[in-house]
């Protein structure tokens, strides 16, 4: 193992519980609970150049992490390296050298992870008034869709609020979602709060649960396309 990062925050609902691990051979694996790329399992392999960059970031730090106190409202972030064991990096801001660089690299790997879905469900916005759950991976995943909390937020311009809609939708209950599985949900936003006039960007979240054996894990799939700065 080259590194493992776990970010956890029980104050959120669903709780944030994210992990990413990079193996010596460049294998990348982990779990996302709240993500744009989907919630679930991810696994893949980093290209050699990226792996080298990760190795360089790890090798650039000393064996002792700086003790930087976390700011108010921070989540728990624990980075594990062979050389250091588990260290808290919650107080270390992203940077370009040393531990700040390594912290940024590790956090970035959580986003990179979502390029390798194994069994993960995302949400998209294929058409006005529709939110679509999509299974992105090749492995099946069991879902509890008995109650799906959907929220749509509309933005105008550069993140100026233009409407907000939420509802808890009764879904089909427990399902096994195989590759290519989709499930559409009706949104009340475009018809009510924000007309789809092309100037509005809609962000979505869908809260449901993934079943892992006997464990039910609340998760959130997000769809938050970036809005370019003015």
């Amino acid at each position: 193992m080259i590194l493992r990062l776990v970010i956890a925050d029980g104050s959120q609902s669903p709780a944030v519980a994210e992990s990413v691990e990079v193996g010596d051979d460049g294998a990348l694996s982990g779990w996302r609970s709240v993500s744009d790329g989907g919630a679930g399992w991810f696994a893949g392999r980093l290209p050699e150049a990226e792996l080298a960059s990760v190795r360089a970031a790890v090798e650039a730090v000393g064996p002792v992490a700086p003790e930087v106190p976390a700011r108010p409202d921070s989540a728990q972030e624990v980075l594990e390296l062979d050389a250091t064991g588990p260290v808290s990096i919650a107080g270390i801001s992203d940077g370009t050298d040393g531990w700040p660089r390594l912290a940024a690299t590790a956090r970035g790997l959580l986003d990179r992870l979502t390029d390798f879905p194994r069994a993960a469900v995302a949400v998209s916005h294929p058409a006005p008034g529709v939110a679509r759950l999509i299974q992105r991976g090749a492995d099946p995943v069991r879902l509890d869709l008995s109650a799906i909390a959907v929220r749509a937020v509309a933005w105008r311009g550069y993140y100026e609020p233009a409407g907000d809609w939420s509802e808890v939708v009764a879904g089909p209950g427990e399902v096994e979602a195989g590759p290519g599985w989709t499930y559409d949900l009706a949104l009340g936003l475009e018809s009510a709060a924000a007309p789809a006039d092309g100037e509005v960007v809609v962000h979505l979240t869908a809260d449901f649960a993934i079943l892992n054996g006997t464990t039910r894990i609340p998760v959130r799939a997000r769809h938050t396309p970036a809005i370019p700065p003015p």
Partner: protein, 649 residues
């Protein structure tokens, strides 16, 4: 900040509602102490045995008693004062303290449908409550306007509300009235402070004896009887449960415990001033403050207060430094020692800058804003208002324009009022873009996520509350959720609520033992099962559990390897348990929902913008509160003289 409740997927125990106390509180009755013979008898009969001796031995001699009574019985900080004259009538769109006062009374006389949010805004719910009140009183015509006649009738109806029925309490008693008595004894100066555990134990017995002895001037009985209740209720208001609104919603009336300090705990040895001058800030409000204070200290020739640290300012600063006794090094740098000296000579100024290094403990975990992350803000007293500015260097993505409006919508609610002159000074807060040594740095990240004081998310759908909360940290305010009782009192200025006293019939020691077992097993699910799921909710019984847990003492939880999950859990080193429940839950358990909800039960949270409005639905302590801008009232006092209080605009 904790996420709002509208996105929660699990039911959250609803805390007992609480209400702010009436602002005017009477002080205790001051009477001389009694003799040493009586003291000796009481010590012999102390139920706490030798443990009580240090407390009761303090009564040796009447002179000491008199001093103790003065020290222990300090009344709460006076509220009110400076009230504006009665208006001709308040109606839709009106705002201010009188509206807030009317909202409180309309709820208590059960004219509103539900307890009214005391926001000082005369909206439709307030108007409807006035109509209901007018109808019930036979006032015609029914206008929904709080005219002088209606107001007088409302005041009379409120004054005629029956006093709370009190239970006579003696050693061993339990129940809500014990908790309320503990609140009042604390508010009236009990030292050490009593835990609000609703158990009349030895510690409370000592406090009761001291109060009887010192304040009631009677031979101590150890019984909280009608006379003592009368004194406690006269000494500090609140401390009972009243039905509010036509819904008769039971609302715990808060017990004011004195002046609140909502700021984070300043790091010892640090200055509240940024280093200014050579090697420090050379432009801006800090330099203006320096120039003003040097002028007050006698700079000759007087400096132009232009906020630019030039040769004249440097020379004046060096002259000030070297003229101290003993002299300070003439460095031309206004460091802590120099600012301390300047503040002594010139306490007030019309503009200034703050750099606050502070820490807080939330949920048993310590967070900080120190060093480069220290809170930095400036203020200026203008002819018609006080302007507080936080300059933020946004890095990463640009900050959306709406964020700036969110800050002003939430924070620009108050004005300072000088209780002597009646002078009013609105206090406006603003967040601006900028950089430099006097700016805060906030990283703006893409998408959504959990904001903290230094990282905000550009697509945060809850930004209207998230950004004002984080802005509060930028002006040095600490969080008001998951606090220890002592921190809760300091931060909010009122006693922890009594809440649930029964604990669903559970035995506190058993709950504590089960929690310890869950902690040793690092199982947050077991911790939640031992507490919340078993029926423990926040309040006095939960504090009994905290005390029983403390008796279990220290321990060690072995290290554990990472658990891949899902959900994943990071590797954890061995941790030392202290017996302090919040700390032990925090260090030993995974940071998940079960841990968070367990900690919530054994701690205290406000419903204000700095608290946890998603979990604490408190219409009487919400949004920004006067306590949040107390620092700026003190600044007004130093600069303009008088005693300034924050009032709703």
């Amino acid at each position: 900040m904790p996420e709002a409740s509208d996105e929660r997927t699990r039911p959250v125990p609803r805390p007992l509602n609480v209400r702010e106390p009436d602002p005017d509180t009477a002080g205790p009755i001051m009477t001389p102490g009694v003799g040493n013979a009586a003291l000796a008898r009481m010590i012999q009969r102390s139920p706490s045995g030798p443990a009580a001796l240090p407390d009761l031995a303090m009564f040796g001699g009447n002179a000491q008693i008199a001093r103790l009574v003065e020290g222990d019985s300090e009344p709460p900080a006076p509220g009110g004062g400076g009230a504006a004259p009665a208006p001709a009538g308040l109606g839709g769109g009106a705002h201010g303290e009188e509206v807030r006062d009317a909202q409180l009374k309309l709820s208590r006389v059960q004219a509103s449908a539900q307890p009214l949010t005391e926001d000082g805004r005369y909206g439709p719910l307030t108007e409807a409550a006035v109509r209901t009140f007018q109808t019930s009183q036979g006032i015609a015509p029914v206008t929904g306007v709080l005219d002088p006649g209606t107001k007088a009738r409302l005041d009379a109806a409120f004054a005629a509300l029956p006093p709370p029925a009190r239970t006579v309490l003696s050693l061993g008693a339990t129940g809500p009235d014990v908790g309320f008595a503990q609140q009042k004894l604390n508010a009236l100066g009990a030292s050490p402070r009593l835990a609000i555990n609703a158990v009349y134990d030895g510690a409370m017995w000592v406090a009761v004896i001291k109060y009887e002895f010192g304040t009631l001037n009677r031979f101590p009985t150890g019984v909280v009887d009608a006379a003592m209740w009368a004194a406690l209720d006269a000494g500090v208001r609140g401390g009972f449960i009243a039905p509010e609104g036509q819904s008769a919603t039971p609302v715990e009336q808060k017990t004011n415990s004195g002046t609140a300090d909502s700021l984070g705990t300043q790091v010892a040895g640090t200055s509240l001033h940024p280093v200014t001058g050579v090697g420090g800030l050379t432009q801006g409000p800090a330099v203006k403050e320096l120039q003003q204070k040097l002028n007050t200290a006698g700079a000759a020739p007087a400096l132009k207060v232009d906020g630019s640290f030039g040769p004249l300012t440097r020379t004046a600063l060096q002259a000030f430094q070297t003229s101290r006794v003993p002299p300070l090094p003439g460095t031309g740098t206004a460091d802590k020692a120099t600012w301390d000296a300047l503040d002594t000579v010139a306490p007030g100024s019309m503009t200034g800058a703050v750099e606050r290094q502070w820490t807080e403990e939330v949920g048993g975990h310590t967070y900080s804003m120190v060093g480069a992350s220290a809170s930095r803000y400036s203020w200026e007293i203008l002819p018609t208002k006080m302007q507080v500015t936080v300059k933020v260097n946004f890095v990463g993505l640009p900050a959306p324009g709406s964020w700036f409006g969110f800050v002003e919508a939430v924070w620009n609610q108050y004005m300072g009022v000088d209780s002597v002159s009646g002078k009013k000074m609105p206090v406006d807060f603003r967040m601006t873009r900028g950089s430099g040594g006097d700016a805060m740095t906030v990283q703006v990240k893409p998408g959504t996520g959990r904001a903290n004081a230094g990282e905000w998310f550009v697509a945060d759908a809850n930004a209207a509350s998230t950004i004002p909360h984080e802005f509060g940290h930028l002006i040095g305010l600490q969080d008001e959720y998951q606090l220890h009782p002592g921190d809760y009192v300091r931060v909010t200025g009122h006693e922890p609520p009594v809440g649930d006293t029964a604990g669903a019939g559970l035995v506190a020691a058993t709950v504590a033992a089960n929690l310890r077992a869950a902690i040793m097993a690092r199982s947050s699910a077991n911790a939640l099962a031992a507490s919340n799921t078993a029926g423990v909710t926040g309040g006095a019984f939960a504090q009994q559990v905290v005390e029983e847990y403390r008796k279990l003492g220290p321990g060690t939880v072995p290290a554990v390897a990472a658990v891949p999950g899902p959900p994943p859990v990071p590797a954890q080193p061995a941790v030392a348990l202290t017996g302090e429940l919040l700390h032990d839950l925090d260090v030993a358990l995974p940071n998940d929902s079960d841990r968070y909800e367990t900690i919530q039960t054994f701690s205290y949270s406000s419903g204000s913008i700095m608290g946890d409005p998603g979990r604490v639905n408190d219409p009487h302590d919400h949004g920004t509160q006067p306590r949040h801008i107390a620092e700026f009232m003190a600044i007004l006092g130093r600069a303009l003289g008088g005693t300034w209080e924050a009032k709703r605009r």
